[in-house]
Symmetry: C2
């Protein structure tokens, strides 16, 4: 527990780390949207995140050990953000949050398709998805099944309707 | 989706409802601590919530349909707060949040005991806990096993050490 923590409760400390209106939105966009550059995260934001808020949250997430920021070998002068292992372990929380949201908020049909797939797939699907994220962000071996591909295909089909 | 929503994404809408630093702390204290009166929630707060923030979040949670506020039949002039069915369905999210916090934040031993029990128990334990909350807050039939009793016993044993 750091000096400024409100309490040592694990729920409280988790909320102190990511319990604001925007941090998990940024994690979501990197995790599900594959957006790893500042410009992409800014310009493609479904919620229209402001540039100063995005910059602040990216720094905060790096400081909290949920993201790493490195030079992108493919683009000079560009930084690329990667999820860390603790951030990848947020998959079940985001899956459950998405499932709760499809039931108890007026979520739109197109933007609920991926949450429903993750909910139906359950922990075994989340586990493969986490392995896939470990491949993309941490250089681990690529799993045979691509959950990202399945989610993207379902999302694009819903958008085309 | 209401007019002021940032997007129709179920994760975003969930965060718009409860994604602030305090709302889930209040839900946690009602859910796990059995605190249902304003004074209890204020005076027993582990995080030292300020009275104006508590009052604001209680109103916000009632407006969002996560709490109901009624007159306490046992205490004249006192209001009692109850969890609604959507709030009870936050149990898995809070269980997973607590488990994540015990792994990735400097959570204290005593305050992690309940999170660890819920994590080890998994979805079948959460389901009984939700039935118990439906009994307490919604008047449903009482389940045979009391998860609250088990969590309280474990917590008190850890505090006594």
């Amino acid at each position: 527990m750091t000096k400024t923590s409100r309490s040592g409760c694990p729920i409280n400390l988790t909320l102190e780390m990511i319990g604001d209106n925007w941090s998990l939105i940024v994690v979501r966009d990197i995790m599900f949207g594959g957006r790893r550059h500042y410009r992409d995260l800014l310009n493609k934001s479904e919620e229209g995140i402001a540039s100063n808020i995005l910059a602040d949250r990216l720094n905060k997430l790096v400081d909290a050990g949920l993201l790493t920021k490195t030079n992108d070998p493919a683009h000079k002068q560009k930084s690329i953000y990667s999820l860390t292992e603790p951030a990848i372990q947020l998959v079940p929380m985001l899956a459950i949050m998405g499932a709760w949201g499809t039931r108890h908020t007026p979520a739109s049909r197109e933007l609920s398709v991926r949450a429903k797939l993750l909910d139906e797939g359950g922990p075994s699907t989340w586990s493969i998805f986490m392995d896939e994220l470990r491949h993309i962000h941490l250089g681990a071996t690529q799993p045979e099944r691509s959950i990202i591909q399945e989610l993207t295909t379902a999302y694009e089909a819903a958008m085309a309707k």
